[in-house]
Each structure stands twice: as C-alpha cells, then as structure tokens.
Amino acid sequence: MELSIFIQLIVLGLVRGSMYALMGVGLSLIFGIMAIVNFAHGELFMIGCYIMYFVASMLGLPFPLGILAAGIGLLIVGIILEKGLISTLRKKAGREWLMDSFVLTIGLMVIFQNLALIIFGSIQRGIPNLVAGQYVIGDVVFIYDHLVILGLALLTVGVLWYFIKNTSLGKAIRATSQHAEAAQTLGIDVSWMYAVAFGIGAALAGISGALLITLFPANPNAGMAPVLKSFVVVILGGLGNIKGAIAAGILVGLLEAYAVFFLAGGWQNVIVFSIVIAVLVFKPSGLFAPAGERP
C-alpha cells in the first residue's frame, strides 16, 4: 500500500474514531454512574442533529453556536428526562433495575423517533459542510470539516475529563457512582448527581449529533447507526469504563477506515459485531480492563 493512502486512512480513522469515542463516552458515563444501558442515546444524537440544523441552517448563525446549543439543549433534555421519568422508576425498581431502565429507554427511543417523524417528516435535513475547503499535502487530503470534527471532539472529551477529574461537581459525581449511600452521608445530593450525569451523557450525544450533521443529515432515524456504533465502542472498552470507551472509539474508527478499504461492503459490520460478541463472551469487562476485574 502506498504511504499516502496509509496516512489518508489514518486521518479518516482518527476522525471517525474521535466521534465514536465521543458517543461512547456519553453512553459509558451514563452506565458507569447510573447503571443504565441507554438505548435512547441515538435519539439524543438525533435531537442534536436537528438543533444544529435549525441554528446553523435556518437561523443562519455560525456553526459553533449550533454545537453549543445542541450541548446545552440536550443537557436540559437529559436532566428533565432523569428527573421526570428515570428517577421515578429508580424509586420503585429493585434488583431488576438494569433491565427495567433499559426497557424505559427503549420506550423513549420509540417516542422520540416517531415524534420527530410527526413534527419534521422523513426529509433529510443536512448541511453540506461546516468549513468549506481542504488542505493538500502531497497526495494526502485534509478536509477542513474533518479537522474541525476531530479537534472539537478531542476538545469536548478533554473538557469532560477535566470536569470529572478535577472539579468538585465531577468528584461528587464519581463519589456517587462509587458508593451512592456513602456519598449521601457526606452531604452530596445524590439524586441531583444522577440528573447531572444523565444530562452530561445526553449533552455528549447532542454534541456528536451537531458535529456530525455533514455526515448524518438530521432525520428521524439519524440515531440508529450511531447508537449501534456507540454500543460496539462501549462493549469493547468495557461498560462504564470511560478511558476504555475513548481507546475503543479510536480503535474502531481506525479498523473501519481500513476495513472499508480492504473488504467488500456489508461484511465489515459482520466482522465488527462478531468481535463484539467474542469480547462479551470472553472478556465482558472490556478489552482495556485490568486483568481479573469482573464487571
């Protein structure tokens, strides 16, 4: 293989991978802190697409505002969903919490998809590009859009990382995820922490949706493909393992970039999904978990 193609595929892989990481981190965060397998994650992504479309295309505002609006909008949606529905279920559910909350998010998925269909119709609403143009070095093409996506995705993950590790709110959220009752005795408002965590997870999905509008035009089913990819990333990285989700996101992105190049279309998903099943069976704690750790 020529070096230029090799480098080009690395660039494409990193761009895809950074997005998968962003989606995966949101999903993993929600699982890690609240033990919810959020099947409506793709629909939160879809709402982000629509917000981006309306801000950047219909209102004609600069695209960073669209991304910001999607992030803030989904943060609010996430907090409302948690406070309104999920926390009500948490008070009633016992041992069956994992499955019950999963089914609840399935209900949310169905509702959001069909409300979007009713409100917006099935038309695809895309934006051709965020930043037009490309930069060429030798035979390698850097599309500006891709660089923007890569940069902003890395920035978002970095900000999240700082927030979780260093701010007091981030520490309170981590404390809640480690031991909710102990956190409560220390004066942490646990139920509020859950709402914030779900909101942040939703915001990450929304930001992904806004960033990727050039690739996934806003439509009611826009979240279907991304959610599948997020689950792949989260399972490979280990459910609830945020570092693992980032690594797995980039790994899957790179793998796919090369698989698209070398394999006949259609089979790449079969291969990726088979790897996922193998990981679930042999190492359910994920590829990057310390040896011996059980989920």
């Binding site: 397998v37 279920l89 499955m99 089914v103 069909n114 079969v270 088979s274």
Partner: protein, 322 residues
C-alpha cells in the same frame, strides 16, 4: 400461607370454563366476521405476536433472561424453513420443523456461550448475534436472495384443506392449533418442577445453586425451548407471508421491540397476559391505522407507563374484569 405463597391453583371448574370460552371465541371468530377477510388477518397477526410474547415472557418473566436478539430467532426459523423449501425441494410441512430446529439449535448454542454472563450482557450478546445473522443473510444474495427478497412456497394441501394463500381459514386454524400446543407446553413447563427451578434461579441464583440445582442447565432449557417455538412460528410466518427480506423492521431491533412490548404490557410472568396484549396492541394498531406515527408514540408511552406505574402490565387488571 401468604408468606410462603399460595400453592399452585389447580384447574378448578371456573378456570376450565374461562379457557373454554376463550377457545370457543377464537375458533368462532372467523365465522362471526365471515364477510370480512381483514378481521381474520388481524387475528392471525395478534395470535402470532401473542405467542411470540409468550415465548419472550418465558425467557424474561420466568427465566430472567434478556433476549434482545429475539427477532434473530424468528429470522432463523423463517429463513431456515424457507431456504430448505427453496433449495432442497423438501415438503414445506417438514421445513417448518427444520426452521424450528434451526432456531432451537441457534438458541442452544447461544445459550451455551452467553448464559453464564450477567443479565444485561446476555441481552447485548443476543442483540449483536441477531444482527450478524441478519447481515449475513443480506450479504449472501446468491443463496438467500438477500434484500431482493426470498419468495416462500405456500404450505401444500393436507387432509383436503386448501393451503394456497387465497384461503385464510386453514392458515388461521393451523396457527390456532400451534398456539394452543405451544401455550400448553409453556404452561405445563412453568408449573412443573422445571418452572419452580426457573423461579428459584431468578429470585436468587446463588442460593439455588447451593441447593444443588444447576442454574445454567435450567436457563439453557428455558432459552432453547423458547427459541425452538419462536422459530416454529417464524417458519409459519414465512409460509404465510410468502416473501422474506432481511431488513430491520422485519428481523431487526424494531421487531424485537414489538414483541418485548407485547410481553411487558401483557405482564411478565403470566404467559396469558401476552396473548391478551397481542390482541389489544395489534387490534389497536390496525384500528388506528390512520394515526400513523402517533400509534408508535402511544406504544412507547404505554411501555414507559407500564415500567413505572404497572410493572405487572394488563395482568394486574384481571381481578377486576374476570
């Protein structure tokens, strides 16, 4: 007594009467609405989703097993039967059995590798497995015709009954017989020692294993049985509907979600609730066809409402009605 739970209710006289009334209604239904073919097709859909719901309930409600790849087992049964008939000229009646066995074997193998995992991982593994099956079918058009669609032969005539698809009644009564047999087997199973083991494992796996019961063995029995019958009805579906395509609404997540909704709305751990929910949800769906997407919004809302306010679903209303 209430602490230990009441002993299993026997089939007392009033229960026989109720079952007989329901059966009589189901047998008579096509004659009540004789001039309306459409009603019969709705009854067929409702019975199919109802019995799929019963199988889902057997897994989730009794075994505590999350099968999020349910549509994949329908798919295995449907394609197993259709391909056997298409390529090997086997009598479609035998093909239905082949489809059921294909799905059962797939269920057994899936169970062997996944059932030792914690609940949600079983769900995720079965989900991806079903997707692999569906995508493999769509990627091998030479053998399965992929997205072009595989035409399926109707069942051959038997005992002088005409199973060309022009006649709905033979298909309806065939399905009714299958549903009665499958339901009876499931009901016997959950009220037997095996069923008690299911419950014990679901309540406390560790405690049950210390009593010397192999949790994996009983989970495997549960999973394989449910997959076998899911596949049998899948095979029936293939010959009834006449054409199969491996798209998501047919054999993907949306189909699994439909069946899951039937089982949850009906009430987990009841079996009969799923049949009732099959009729109510499918009837509702057909009656409100003009509502379009609002129908599905209501489905989602109903599912959430059941999760939060009525974990036992429709079955919790039984005491008021019947």
């Amino acid at each position: 007594m209430s602490i230990l739970g009441s002993p299993r209710k026997g089939m007392n006289a009033s229960r026989y009467v109720k079952v007989a009334l329901v059966l009589a209604f189901l047998i008579a239904a096509p004659w009540i609405w004789q001039e309306n073919r459409f009603i019969t097709t709705i009854f067929i859909s409702a019975l199919m989703f109802g019995i799929w719901g019963v199988m889902y309930d057997l897994q989730i409600g009794y075994g505590g097993l999350i099968n999020f790849g349910f549509a994949g087992f329908i798919c295995a049964g449907a394609y197993g039967s259709a391909l056997a008939a298409h390529h090997y000229e086997i009598n479609p009646w035998l093909c239905m059995l082949i489809g059921a066995v294909a799905s059962g074997v797939l269920g057994f193998l899936t169970g062997v590798v996944t059932l030792r995992l914690r609940g949600i991982f079983v769900g995720l593994a079965t989900w991806f497995l079903a997707e692999v099956l569906r995508l493999t079918i769509s990627n091998t058009p030479v053998y399965t015709r992929g997205m072009l669609g595989l035409t399926v032969k109707p069942l051959p005539d038997v005992l002088g009954l005409n199973f060309s698809r022009a006649e709905l009644l033979p298909y309806y009564y065939l399905l009714l017989i299958l549903v009665i047999i499958i339901f009876a087997i499931a009901a016997l199973m959950v009220s037997s020692r095996i069923g008690l083991s299911f419950k014990a494992i679901r309540e406390d796996q560790l405690a049950t294993e210390t009593l010397g019961l192999s949790a994996t063995k009983y989970k495997l029995i549960n999973f394989t049985t449910a997959c076998f019958f899911t596949g049998l009805i899948g095979a029936y579906y293939a010959h009834y509907i006449g054409i199969l395509t491996p798209d998501t609404t047919e054999f993907g997540v949306p189909r699994t979600v439909e069946v899951l909704t039937v089982a949850y709305v009906g009430g987990r751990g009841t079996l009969w609730g799923s049949i009732l929910a099959g009729f109510i949800l499918i009837g509702f769906q057909e009656y409100f066809r003009q509502l379009g997407a609002w129908r599905l919004v209501m489905y989602g809302t109903l599912l959430i409402a059941v999760m939060i306010y009525a974990p036992k679903g429709l079955s919790s209303f039984k005491k008021y009605i019947w």
